[in-house]
């Protein structure tokens, strides 16, 4: 039974919070990956977008660990702060993605539906992470990281090729950042809940 001794210490355990966060981050990345692949197959073939997408994510100013060693050396507080920073930095672009994706010519429902689902689930994951951070660091994490997105005008460009590239780049970055978040959360869960012995 939930809360056997009434409201005393009646809360979702940290382990359960992490389990739910990891299940959500895994789901968000799977959706982001499918959405990117669908868009790439349908709108980007032969346009060489990948060469222009290099080094162009709005979150690249957030220095994140790029291999296992770096990720294991970073303090969990800083890794949590990075995850929060990346998640927060995607709120605004995801909101606009939902409305702008509908303007793409013959955008299939599956892309539209995924954009809506990812925007919703990203907010839900952010709510969960705030709960986890509040549990681990009641005083908060100190300097909040955030990277502003200024890509809306490029999603509304008249020239189709430029506009499609803007979408391609946004979905490429979403796939990348959602994978980072998923990977870091799985690492944090093993470290904080299972003493690095998953």
């Amino acid at each position: 039974p939930i809360c056997p001794n009434g409201s005393i210490s009646c809360q979702v355990s940290l382990g359960d919070l992490f389990d739910r966060a990891v299940k959500l981050s895994h789901y968000i990345h799977s959706l982001s990956s499918e959405m990117f692949n669908e868009f790439d197959e349908r709108y980007a073939q032969g346009r060489g977008f990948i060469t222009k997408a290099i080094n162009s994510c709005h979150t690249s100013s957030l220095t994140t660990p790029e291999d296992k060693e770096q990720a294991q050396q970073i303090h969990h507080e800083d890794l949590l702060n990075l995850v929060m920073g990346v998640l927060n930095s995607w709120n605004d672009p995801l909101l606009h993605l939902v409305s702008e994706v509908q303007t793409i010519k013959e955008a299939p429902d599956t892309i539209l539906w995924k954009a809506v689902e990812i925007e919703e689930q990203n907010k839900r994951l952010l709510e969960g992470m705030e709960k986890i951070v509040g549990r681990l660091h009641p005083g908060g994490l100190g300097n909040e990281l955030y990277s502003r997105w200024s890509g809306l005008p490029s999603l509304q460009l008249p020239d189709e090729d430029s506009r499609l590239f803007a979408f391609y780049n946004l979905l490429h970055c979403l796939r990348r950042d959602s994978h980072k978040i998923d990977n870091y959360l799985k690492l944090l869960k093993c470290r904080l809940i299972h003493d690095s012995n998953c």
Binding site: I2, C3, G6, S7, C10, Q11, V12, D16, L17, R20, K23, L24, H26, Y27, S30, L31, E117, E120, Q121, R124, E127, G128, K131
Partner: protein, 210 residues
């Protein structure tokens, strides 16, 4: 007249881990019109809120839509019954949405007799996930359980099959008429109801091994 009896919250349920509803048992009201209010608060919060929607889930119920449903907190829920003589409050009922997920039953359960390449006959059971859940397969991981018995038989044979949506059954009695059902559950939640029954009449010469 009397003040109302103590109300009791019967059950809370979420079909897809996105929304949830709770139902309570009306009290013995001694003939006086009784009014019910549901209050809830989340762990660590002082303030209480009132039920956002008393109608969607039917009489004596409260429906929490997506905006009011959180996976990250435990809800402390109480019901207050009031009539002109006074009021009465239920015991607090604690709810963690992940643990009250009870999907709708699986659908399209089909039974077919198949022959293995090496001649052996077996029963192939096939089914689909419940409509609401199949759209978000990555979000709601469903596991299934089958049960099977001869029509006249008393005892069901129950088989847990994990995330599969088809299953081969070998150990069957030739000439028998079988009833089969399937149900599902999300990782921490409750089993759904059993699906509607499916039937198959095995031919007499249905050998297990030629």
């Amino acid at each position: 007249g009397q003040p109302p009896g103590k109300p009791e919250l019967i059950k809370c349920r979420s079909p897809e881990k996105e929304t949830f509803s709770c139902w309570w048992k009306p009290v013995s009201d001694g003939g006086l019109p009784t009014n019910y209010t549901l209050f809830y608060n989340n762990e660590g919060e002082e303030s209480f809120y009132e039920c956002p929607d008393y109608t969607t889930a039917g009489p004596n119920s409260c429906y929490f839509d997506k905006k009011h449903t959180s996976l990250w907190t435990i809800y402390n829920i109480t019901i207050k019954a009031t009539n002109e003589m006074g009021s009465n409050i239920s015991e607090p009922h604690y709810v963690d949405v992940t643990y009250i997920v009870q999907p709708n039953p699986p659908v399209n359960l089909s039974l077919a007799l198949n022959k293995h390449t090496d001649g052996k006959l077996y029963l192939l059971m096939n089914w689909s996930s419940p409509p609401l859940a199949d759209v978000r397969s990555g979000w709601l991981t469903l596991e299934y359980e089958l049960r099977l018995k001869p029509e006249e038989g008393e005892e069901w044979e129950t088989i847990f099959v994990g995330q599969r949506t088809k299953y081969k059954v070998f150990s069957l009695i030739p000439g028998e008429k079988y009833i089969a059902q399937v149900r599902c559950k999300s990782d921490h939640g409750e089993w759904s109801k059993w699906s509607s029954e499916s039937y198959i009449h095995l031919p007499k010469e249905f050998r297990l091994k030629d």
